[in-house]
Symmetry: C2
Subunit: 519 residues, 2 copies
């Protein structure tokens, strides 16, 4: 599966030391440069002499299939005749793009922080005005136009710390809370810290398979090895400790495995980890002296009965010594998901636990070179950390809007699960949380043969056909990773209920036709 | 000057290939870990085994002296007795933090994009409402909460292209305009492309000395060599072609010099390049087959009579072939500077010219993994690219506010120049543009001796004394680079006129006292 590249970039020497599952790579190499012209007329930068990690990296959520979706959309607008009238983008966790309306309170506060005159001149609610005033007081020059501290406005960091304390029932030091431009910036910066070989072994990071492609993309970008551990599809995508040990032992022969990423609730898999599972992972990380990266951006998105979100911070604290005092943990949160779905505002935070103070200082210093997260994204973070209190003027509306979104997501998670579960050739786990289903599809030998002819992995072939014939855009399983010879795709649960019903209907018809065609 | 580090990180092998001026490094190593505890109790990450490029990197604009400033501010708030009552932050180009008020129109539009109800319910001006409506129409789901395309909202990219066409009098293809989270994201991503050795030589980038520390920090972070070319202080910080050739020839012996950075108007040096100077740099880059990075974020900030801003794009276009067709150029712009000073909103763009299409596609792909620039920052970009038209309801106020800021900045640039020029032991060039002065100070042998005892470079010693005795925070020249045995500091021209007069007064008294003390 590993492409032979000749090691042109010096970082590549590191990348090639991998023994892990990288299902995207073969595709990358096939697609490389396809349809592009690279005349070297006086040009100093060519595809061959730039950073080969950038050439290699892929981000499936916005990959070639999604780009094709944009083209189809434009063609439709220009009057092209297709077997469908509109595209349904089920490829990305982008709630507002799929018709979810913003939480009014958040937007009121942001509008006033952006244009403070509104605090006096408008009829916006008093609690929103108060919150906007407080946020402005925390900003230099009382303006959202000033840079904030690199870790964010202190007042907002304190409100986030209070949110975490309330969530977990344990202390949170605001000095360990760092606001970020979405969760992405924090994740990338923490991974960049790990770029150092140990005893001559190349550094590597454990990630779930399937995983969110930000991780695979960033590991390739930074020349870090990716050590995949398979989630247990037959056990609702749970973490199997034997599999973790296997992956670690195998990789450790040639690599220095420095950290483990856990995504809970899962993306693209939608599982919610049990407390026991989290404890086991913490013990595992401690035993092997690995840092723990807990991607907890879907902490508000819990749908299935009996499921509950436990933060790694809470569990580690309650496990006591040595874990609570020594195990390094960074937890990531975002305003892009949850009930707010504010992707475009780019707000998030990370909580840093048990990091060596000198290392933490270097992390903060590195963040300072990108100056600060966006001030208005921070204002939105403040509203998520400190929503209207019970009894305040905006509380009822805020609660109603929040509940409406979460109830509807829960309902849609069931619709998707029920539909896929009952489709012939489909296997789909319960969507316990997050915003996605990751069903498995049986593809016939004839379909696999056709995919081969089309020079595409079978799941990519399936997803392209789905797109071209129905306008539905999902992301093939290869973008996230999957066990060899299995085929999946990720769909979001985000189309609004009516559209989702339509999408499920179209999907069923397509799949039947596909099955018949390749029977 | 180069520290010996034993090459622990694999990237470091690259970093150590440098022959350039890196005045910050010696300080870095001295300060490393000072006052920090790194008990290795069960911790997997220590200062010694993390990415050594991150350990090495420094960003002086938010460095230790600035952190100390924050501590002093807190001490003052807590009632500590100091020889001064307030801190004056002249360390960072952060206009709003220093009392500049936002451009009303920008904030009105952002407020309505954030909270569209205001379009109907408020008395905000019609043109601002129209612009907010248009921006929302360009966003998925008509919401700022949706992710935008990775290169930004198409409508806004088109407005930026129109702005560039108007500025330069030449065509601009919006497909080559990419919106970013401030200029920083774009600069970092383009530099990351260059991380590939050529014929076994490590890649390196030419940067002016003095330079803006984002460049030095990023080059260290990415393990790229820094090739400093000295700006000509005696010629108002102009670019001397002989010096460029010298720096290139020397570095080329051991490194692959892949790009040159030019900052115009200059940061920290405040010069505005002549058209002839720009032409020469373009020829130089072409001759040596280097990419050109034009940092043009201060394009609105031109103060001195006879000075005019010429964009590299305009000059390259008018130079004709082969330059206009072959010379690779990326120009960076930001909403953080100019007359708007919207640092906190994090908006900017880059225009990409003559890049190999395959390379550009990889650049855009890499940007897609960080999803998109902030939507509200993009809305602000739209207002900068497409301000109210003459005759529209907001035009007069917008023009008055813009003119007021720029006139005041011009006035303040003169106050600073006149004061420093006439101070004994000071040499200061005219501040032709941007937001800074970078005066040179003569320090007596006794002062240099005292600095040595305090284990600080002389200019750092001076800046710390200034801070501790007066509360004025400037950035020492070592943070930007300077010729050996010369001493400078950078001050912004951003304190409002009254405060600036006070600051200049305090500064003069301090310098006299300092000079007397170390006579």
């Amino acid at each position: 599966m590993r492409p032979e590249l000749g090691g042109r970039g010096w970082k590549l020497a590191v990348t090639t030391g991998q023994t892990d599952v990288r299902p995207m790579k073969s595709r990358v190499c096939k697609d490389r440069g396809k349809g592009k012209t690279s005349p070297e007329v006086g040009r100093s930068l060519t595809e061959k002499n730039i950073n080969q990690n950038i050439v290699l990296m892929q981000y499936a959520v916005r990959g070639p299939l999604v780009i094709r979706t944009g083209v189809i959309e434009t063609e439709l607008q220009q009057g092209a005749q297709k077997p469908f009238k509109r595209v349904i983008r089920a490829n990305i966790g982008d709630a507002h793009a799929m018709g979810q309306t913003p939480i009014t309170y958040i937007r009121q506060v942001i509008a006033m922080v952006a244009h403070p005159e509104l605090i006096e001149s408008s009829n916006l609610p008093k609690d929103a005005k108060d919150q906007a005033r407080q946020i402005l007081c925390g900003m230099s020059g009382h303006s959202a136009g000033a840079y904030t501290m690199s870790c964010g406005v202190e007042l907002i960091r304190k409100n986030v710390a209070a949110y975490i304390e309330k969530r977990d029932g344990h202390k949170c030091d605001f000095n360990n809370v760092c606001l970020t431009t979405g969760a992405t910036t924090g994740i990338k910066m923490v991974l960049e810290l790990l770029c150092s070989s140990i005893d001559g072994k190349c550094p590597a990071v454990m990630v779930p398979i399937p995983q969110y492609p930000l991780y695979s993309a960033t590991l390739v970008e930074y020349g870090l090895g990716q050590v995949g551990y398979f989630l247990d599809e037959d056990n609702n995508w749970g973490l199997d400790m034997q599999e973790l040990e296997r992956a670690h032992a195998e990789a450790s022969k040639t690599q220095a495995v420095r950290a483990i990423v856990v995504i809970n609730p899962g993306n693209p898999t939608g599982q919610v980890l049990t407390r026991k599972n989290i404890e086991d992972v913490i013990k595992f990380a401690y035993k092997h002296k690995m840092m723990l990266l807990a991607d907890e951006v879907y902490q508000h998105n819990i749908y299935a009965e009996g499921c509950q979100f436990f933060s790694f911070k809470k569990v580690i604290t309650e496990m006591g010594a040595p874990y609570c005092k020594e195990q390094e943990l960074v937890s990531f949160m975002s305003i892009s998901k949850g009930y707010m779905g504010e992707c475009g505002l780019r707000g998030g935070w990370m909580e840093i636990i048990n990091l060596d103070p000198a290392v933490q200082a270097h992390l903060y210093k590195a963040l300072s070179a990108i100056l600060c997260p966006t001030s208005l994204g921070q204002a939105a973070v403040d509203c998520v950390a400190k929503p209207p209190a019970e009894g305040s003027p905006s509380y009822e509306q805020w609660l109603a809007e929040k509940t409406c979104v979460l109830d509807s997501l829960a309902q849609r998670s069931k619709i998707i699960y029920e539909t896929f579960k009952n489709m012939k050739g489909f296997k789909c786990n319960v969507v316990q949380g997050a915003m996605y289903a990751f069903p498995r599809i049986e593809l016939s030998p004839k379909a696999i043969e056709a995919a081969k002819k089309a020079n595409r992995p079978p799941d990519v072939f399936y997803a392209y056909k789905l797109l071209e014939e129905t306008g539905i855009c999902v992301v093939p399983g290869t973008g996230f990773g999957q066990k060899p010879n299995t085929h999946h795709f990720r769909t979001t649960i985000l189309p609004q209920t009516e559209l989702l019903a339509e999408m499920m209907d179209i999907f069923q018809k397509f799949h039947k036709k596909f099955t018949d065609e390749f029977a």
